[in-house]
Amino acid sequence: MAEQTEYSKKKECEVKALPMEEKKRLVREGKAHWFFPGHIIEQIVLCGFVVLILITLSTVFPAHLGEKADPFDTPAHIKPEWYFLAAYYSLRLAEYTDFLGAWAPKIMGIVAQQVAVTILILVPFIDQNVNERRPGKRPIAMALGFLAALTVIVFTILGHLV
């Protein structure tokens, strides 16, 4: 008999087509779980937790409503929300590219952001190491990923501080 593909390597349509006996065996051997009810209950409990977290946060730290906008009064410190701080800091950083010419400071920041997003989108096509998924066996991907994450975190902190 031809060697069976391991469950984790099977395509979903192949898994779906497995006979009931085979599915029961996989569950018995601890390789799979039933979607119903186990997995569904897990998801519902998780959603419940999220609702609890939202209620707790809203109660302990109520949403803030600042003073009404006044177009004639520019505040001293204009800061974006935390998730835009890294992008904000990259714009500030781009001001140091003025040695390239007067055009550079404003454009380099936007260009750098576009390049970063493009690289992020293309990750699966840049990474040619298609078969290895274990992080320990992908030192380059891990190092680059770590560097990227670190950059975002450091930029966010610096964006908060400037």
């Binding site: 469950y7 395509k11 979903e12 349509c13 898994v15 497995l18 009931m20 599915k23 996989l26 569950v27 799979a32 779980h33 039933w34 979607f35 119903f36 997995h39 569904i40 897990e42 998801q43 998780l46 959603c47 999220v50 609702v51 977290i53 939202l54 809203s58 730290f61 109520p62 949403a63 409503l65 600042g66 003073e67 009404k68 906008a69 006044d70 177009p71 009064d73 520019t74 204009i78 974006p80 929300e81 998730y83 835009f84 055009w103 454009i107 936007i110 997003v117 989108i121 699966p124 096509f125 298609v130 078969n131 290895e132 998924r133 274990r134 992080p135 992908r138 991907a141 990923g145 994450a149």
Partner: protein, 233 residues
């Protein structure tokens, strides 16, 4: 289906009316097959672990945002005269308004956190690799859409911080050659930030982006359904 007992996974249904109704649906739409395939006879990889749940949580937070957003729209008015006052009213007078706005505001922050954790998990576990490359692209699109939702939603209470953050945010693309000032004009709906900007951001925040995001989430989920949840490495 002309049967005494309807077997649906662990359930044995004997109620005649329920069986008749289900049979009618099954004859017309093949419901039994779908329910068995997608629910009762479906298996998922065991030991998915804590870090695997953040995609699902992000999805749930999107639904939560849609629901709390609809509730906020009941009282909110997108005009520069009344926006701030109606949000204040939601916070102070509307029953549980503080909770709805709190959940919406915290939900948007949490959603970005859970999406980022989800992304890191997918990266570290190499789940973006074949056959799931396309779903990584769709996922990044969802991250960008969520940031767009946050950016447009932030202006709606018409506060000082939101107003001036939007001034800076819409000023940024203006530096681009040729198209820059045009982009700024489109984003603001004029030279200055005013009523048109608020109307525009409101429309984008409550209609355009939610519809697009929901569709792209659908695309994300369909791919997961077709490809299965990535098993252990």
């Amino acid at each position: 289906m002309d049967i005494e007992t309807l077997h649906l996974g662990p359930f044995k249904i004997k109620n005649k009316i329920a069986i008749r109704l289900f049979s009618a649906l099954d004859d017309r739409l093949g419901v039994k097959e779908i329910v068995d395939d997608e629910v009762f006879e479906k298996i998922v990889p065991a030991h998915l672990g804590f870090w695997s749940c953040f995609g699902g949580i992000s999805f749930f937070l999107f639904i939560s945002q849609a629901l709390t957003g609809m509730l906020l729209m009941v009282y909110y008015q997108p005009t520069i005269e009344d926006a701030h006052a109606t949000v204040a009213m939601i916070m102070n007078e509307v029953p549980f308004g503080w909770l709805v706005r709190g959940s919406h505001s915290w939900g948007s922050n949490l959603m970005l956190v859970t999406i980022m954790i989800h992304m890191v998990k997918i990266y570290v576990s190499g789940i973006y690799k074949p056959p799931r490359e396309l779903n990584w692209v769709v996922g990044i699109t969802l991250l960008l859409l969520t940031m767009g939702l946050s950016f447009t939603g932030y202006l709606l209470p018409w506060t000082q911080l939101a107003y001036w953050a939007t001034v800076v945010g819409t000023e940024t693309p203006a530096a681009l050659p040729y198209v820059g000032e045009y982009i700024r004009y489109i984003m603001r709906g004029g030279e200055e930030i005013g009523q048109v900007t608020l109307t525009r951001f409101f429309a984008i925040h409550v209609m355009l982006l939610p519809v697009i995001t929901a569709s792209v989430i659908g695309l994300h989920l369909v791919q997961i359904r077709r490809q299965g949840i990535a098993g252990p490495m």
